[in-house]
């Protein structure tokens, strides 16, 4: 195809210019060794004990105006029911693979309808009040949780279009620093991954922070301890 030829010659030309500028073709082995030699004297691991890490996460999340509660494993469904009642939501979308025990059906859902996302259209998603998911991990120091396209966390669109997000995080999945989170994510680095830190926000108008321009405006986190 004609376009392929054009693209190939462009590619070769750009690479030729790079090599002319840097003094020749890079040797992969040398590049790798050079990368290993980069000084990384920053903090790799946190220093806090367990309780300190969880308290830090809560503090950071609240700083973003998220609501956070700690519950014991057996009481998640109850806590979900309370959160949803307070928020006044009626229709929730949930990803395939979300632990059934977290859903308040047995505990009395208070009339909330849960619909499993099996390829709903964007328009369908727009009709939900909220979404509920798990998370791969959370980073205490920045008040961040990380979602990936896996069972229980679902498609990226589902956690984006509804106006409310309820995220359930296990205490054992909370790390203190960003480097600790990246080390854990390395195994699944190829999955679609979203770092979420607080509800969507902008400061474009006179630097006043406004919540939820396009993504969810309200965020709650349940921390299972």
């Amino acid at each position: 195809m004609a376009t392929d030829t054009v693209t190939n010659s462009t590619r070769d030309e750009v690479l030729r210019r790079i090599r002319a500028a840097t003094g020749g073709t890079s040797d992969g082995g040398v590049a790798k060794a050079g990368w290993e030699g980069i000084a990384r004297d920053y903090r790799r691991k946190g220093t806090r004990e367990r309780e300190g890490v969880l308290a830090l996460l809560e503090d950071r999340l609240r700083d973003y105006d998220a609501r956070v509660v700690r519950v014991a494993g057996g009481r998640v469904a109850q806590s979900v029911a309370e959160m949803l009642a307070e928020r006044g939501v009626r229709r929730m979308v949930v990803p395939v693979g979300l632990p059934v025990a977290w859903l308040p059906a047995a505990a009395g859902a208070g009339g909330v309808e849960f619909v499993v996302d099996e390829g709903l259209s964007s328009g369908d998603l727009d009709d939900f009040d909220g979404v509920m998911t798990g998370a791969t991990l959370a980073i205490a120091e920045t008040g961040t949780f990380v979602l990936q396209s896996v069972a229980g966390q679902g498609r990226r669109a589902a956690t984006l279009v509804p106006d409310y997000h309820l995220c359930v995080v296990r205490a054992e999945d909370v790390v203190e620093t960003v480097p600790e989170s990246m080390a854990q994510l390395q195994r699944t680095a190829g999955l679609a991954t979203t770092f979420v830190s607080g509800p969507s926000a902008t400061a474009d108008i006179e630097m006043t922070r406004i919540k939820g321009v396009h993504g969810p405006r309200f965020l709650d986190v349940i921390l299972i301890v």
Binding site: T3, R11, Y42, R156, M182, Q186, A192, G198, I210
Partner: protein, 485 residues
């Protein structure tokens, strides 16, 4: 040749544009307020990091290392991205990049696109090219929407509409969204944007984005944002076209641990920005079915070839240097005549333009060093500025550069004068007589000179000069001695 697409070739030189901007007090007020707020937030969240300097050093080394082996990492990115189902294209310059994107949008069957804020697409003036091809582009970042509806130009890398205040934004939205009743609280304005864009997100099938980082190890792309409009564009459409400078690559996934700490704290003064999206090729069950990446040179290889200026490419576009720069804070971004304003613009723009245009930009700095202090990847901007000034002087003898040669000549004459007391006194006396007709009194009765003749004119082009004292210190000292007090 390569660096085409930016505006500065038609824009007035910095000294002329800056003069006009200095007269716009509203703009200066808005810029000062915005940069003050970001700087305050930045200082607070940087202050809570005990290892900030170590992170900066790691950031610098990662970027420097990447530039040294750029061919290797780009090929690695291409191979991994392709394996994951992405299609990689290469563009030598802005024109090629525009051609590829327009072609891909047409092939997607759409005559509309939704866009994430991207300085790279601003750099190549993509929207104009899309319109010319009958494709309407909707900017979805709130600031970019303000710019687009206001038919304006961005004035900051991170907060492109910081020169507008809420009344001005309200007026634009009232007019362009047909909302006469719209309030002026920031919440009202954000709600209007949400309503206006929601329908586009759900309808338009093709999106165009930039990239904050390309990850060679995985073939993944990372976009950092706040509002969720980025996620909308990356997630909902059927086709996604990402355009990135070849300088955006990072060697390994792990390197994000450094960049994701440096960038949000430097850019918006947040510990982490609300959303970071990382995606690799296509995923059958999640997001677009078709994904293209356009890797663009557009004069970046020429910067790479200049060893002293190469560090310019390390920039991660956080905008911290703009907020810290006393010159930018006075003039705002438009005076730079380019989408890259402030200190980074002063070194990047002339290089993207092969020094043909924007030659006054390396002089748009007081070399105070504030930009170097805040730069999260330790780019020594003052050093590059001086290197570029040398290049301007060396490469040209006419035009704007010729004028700066004159400044250099004037400095030599000054040195000669200062070396001799007799000459110095003579010049002082002469100056007091000669300045007479040029002095204007201000409201406080102080005399100011706004314009000097001939060779000295360059000095007053960018600053007012205080009138010379009626009596010099030396004269006073001697008189005091004579009178015996």
């Amino acid at each position: 040749m390569s660096g085409v697409g930016l505006d500065p070739k038609t824009a007035p030189t910095f000294p002329m544009a800056a003069k006009a901007m200095l007269g716009d007090t509203q703009l200066r007020k808005n810029v000062r307020h915005a940069t003050d707020v970001i700087q305050g937030k930045r200082a607070r969240v940087v202050g809570e990091m005990p290892d900030w300097q170590e992170l900066r050093e790691a950031g610098r080394q990662i970027r420097q290392h990447t530039m040294k082996y750029l061919d290797f990492y780009l090929e690695e990115f291409e191979a991994n991205c392709t394996r994951a189902g992405g299609v990689v294209h290469w563009a030598r310059d802005a024109e090629e990049a525009r051609g590829i994107v327009v072609g891909l949008v047409k092939a997607s069957g759409s005559d509309e696109v939704i866009k994430i804020k991207s300085m790279t697409t601003e750099e190549i003036e993509l929207n104009t090219a899309l319109e010319a091809a009958g494709i309407h582009a909707f900017e979805t970042d709130l600031a970019e929407l303000i710019i687009q509806l206001g038919e304006d130009r961005p004035s900051h890398i991170v907060v492109p509409a910081l020169h507008k205040n809420r009344q001005q934004i309200r007026e634009i939205f009232q007019r362009k969204m047909n909302l006469p009743e719209l309030g002026e609280r920031p919440e009202d304005l954000a709600d209007a944007a949400r309503m206006f864009l929601r329908e586009k997100f759900l309808r338009v099938k093709t999106a165009v984005s930039g990239a904050n980082f390309l990850i060679a190890e995985t073939g993944g792309v990372c976009v950092v944002e706040s509002e969720g409009n980025g996620r909308m564009c990356l997630t909902l459409p059927e086709t996604l076209i990402t355009i990135a400078g070849i300088d955006k690559v990072l060697p390994r996934f792990q390197d994000l641990e450094v960049m994701l700490q440096l960038l949000p704290r430097s850019a918006t003064g947040e510990r982490m920005n609300p959303y970071n999206s990382i995606w690799t090729g296509v995923d059958a069950a999640d997001g677009p079915r078709v994904f293209h990446v356009v890797l663009m040179d557009n004069a970046r290889t020429e910067i790479l070839a200049d060893e002293e200026a190469r560090q310019t490419l390390n920039c991660i576009r956080c905008g911290a240097c703009q907020n810290a720069c006393p010159v930018y804070r006075q003039t705002g971004g438009h005076a730079y005549g380019s989408v890259y304003a402030g200190p980074i613009g002063a070194i990047l723009t002339p290089q993207l333009q092969e020094m043909q245009h924007a030659q006054s930009l390396p002089y748009a700095s007081s070399l105070c060093g504030a930009c170097y202090e805040v730069c999260p990847v330790k780019i020594n901007i003052p050093e590059v500025l001086i290197h570029l000034r040398n290049r301007v002087v060396r490469q040209n003898t006419a035009g704007v550069a010729g004028f700066f040669d004159v400044e250099a000549g004037a400095m030599k004459a000054m040195a000669m004068i200062f070396r001799s007391e007799r000459r110095f006194r003579a010049v002082q006396r002469l100056g007091r007589v000669a300045e007479g007709p040029l002095v204007h009194k201000d409201g406080q009765g102080e005399g100011w000179i706004r314009w000097l003749p001939g060779l000295l004119g360059g000095w007053t082009q960018v600053r007012d000069l205080r009138e010379m004292p009626k009596e010099t210190f030396r004269d006073w000292w001697e008189r005091r001695g004579d009178n015996g007090n």
